[in-house]
Symmetry: C2
Subunit: 242 residues, 2 copies
DNA sequence: ATCATTATTATGTCTAGACATGAGAGGGCA
DNA sequence: TGCCCTCTCATGTCTAGACATAATAATGAT
């Protein structure tokens, strides 16, 4: 029996925390000791084995379950997922932050701003009445004076009346909304489209060229707030980890 | 003072759980009582106010912090985020499940399978030596006999030697990998590209037509496992909520 | 005035023990 | 055999108390 060095993979620190438990479990899974579908020991057993309280093991396993690595069921126990949920958390950044984080200078320009009735294709998505009024905005975000993203946005005036009084010449609607609307439910849809003419113009693309679009619909307490279609410059890729 | 009905928004149940605390906090944020940037009471105060233990409040606030709604710092306290992290968890499903969940019949077809040296553009991404061998696979996933996704995949043989002996005629490489490789770190990149000719052929697109692509790189313990480029059929959108 | 040190404070985590809950296992009965 | 009821057990959650830690505020020395 060897005495493991302090930083050896299986060395446990004086005080065993939930991160140590997670690591220990992950090591066993990665090492093939607990293969896909394997049933882990119960929380009580694991806690004794690792030298900590059951609550600590519980927190570790709960997090591993949220991360899609194991599957937990009462009475049935904890199993390594056969088909790990390949999930990733995608953070949709504010354009300004994304551009400035990339070391470029951010610039914003408003193209169009008008109030009118909601187009029918959008009424369906948002569940609005036929005569609902929306604020329709089109603007561009530049990185070092190169067009980075075209934003087409519709804001439901009934839900956010204050929006009607903002002119959005110096600040983008997204930043204004984020600072104004307290919190909201979001649905995002990503896809590829042939660039419509006005988008192609602004982004310097050939009409019909492939453009990456993100559509974001926002609700506040079941009230539709806004719909935005973001079209990104050529070659843009959205990345995420874990 | 009125006696609130049992299901009124501020009615608290006999036993106050962390979900009740989350709800109570969210109600105050949405109701504008705690606007963006506001400092919440400390955990001890909140616990007394709501009638539960501090650990319960802690769990609630910790989750709200993970969800990007509040910001917590030691000594400084808990604040409502001024710019809520617009994050969403994106689950990249197994194609088969995605197709079958959509009520369509799944079919798989292998197009190409060969072992060779790793192309240089991929060597860079994976950090491989010049003479590294990879298994190069191209296949299609059909939904109701319509092409749904073209998968181009490279598997690093040094990391997963067993892959070299699988023929992948009846099972897709993704499903095989998921059932074989215990767990892994993933990086996903989403974008829009003009369809290269061989992809356009398989998906029934015009060459150069916009195609949505997901690129996924997978590691196991810092060892590169596989790189996959998934090209989706026309009009496909990837959606996520919250 | 400036810098280093100490005190304070809110969050972060752990523990031991308790009760709640959901679901599988087993038994009894028709 | 097939159905329903109860039993049992692993996880889910809560509590009260304790110590750990990071970051700010206050203090003291130069």
């Amino acid at each position: 029996m060897t005495i493991p060095a302090e930083d050896a993979p299986d060395a446990l620190p004086a005080r065993v925390g939930y991160l140590d438990v997670k690591r220990a479990v992950m090591d066993r899974i990665r090492g093939g000791i607990w293969g896909p579908g394997a049933l882990l020991p119960g929380e009580v057993t694991l806690a004794e084995e690792l030298g900590c309280a059951r609550a600590t093991v519980n927190r570790a396993l709960t997090e591993l379950s949220e991360e899609g690595i194991v599957d937990r069921k009462r009475r049935a126990g904890t199993r390594v997922r056969t088909a790990p949920r390949r999930l990733a958390r995608l953070e949709i950044p504010l354009v300004r932050e994304e551009i400035e984080d990339g070391g470029a200078a951010y610039r914003y320009a408003l193209i169009r701003r008008e109030i009118g009735t909601c187009p029918s294709w959008l009424r369906g998505r948002l569940g609005l009445a036929a005569n609902a009024k929306v604020l329709d905005i089109e603007c561009i975000h530049y990185a070092d004076d190169q067009p980075f993203q075209v934003e087409e946005r519709w804001i439901v005036i009934d839900t956010i009346p204050a929006a009607a009084t903002v002119d959005f010449t110096s600040e983008g609607p997204n930043e204004w909304l984020v600072a104004t609307v307290p919190f909201s439910d979001i649905r995002v849809s990503l896809g590829a489209e042939p660039a419509p003419e006005h988008v192609a113009d602004h982004l310097g693309l050939a009409p019909g060229e492939a453009v990456f679009t993100a559509e974001r619909t926002t609700w506040l307490e079941d009230q539709p707030v806004t719909f935005a279609r973001l079209s990104f410059r050529r070659g843009y890729r959205m990345t995420m980890e874990s």
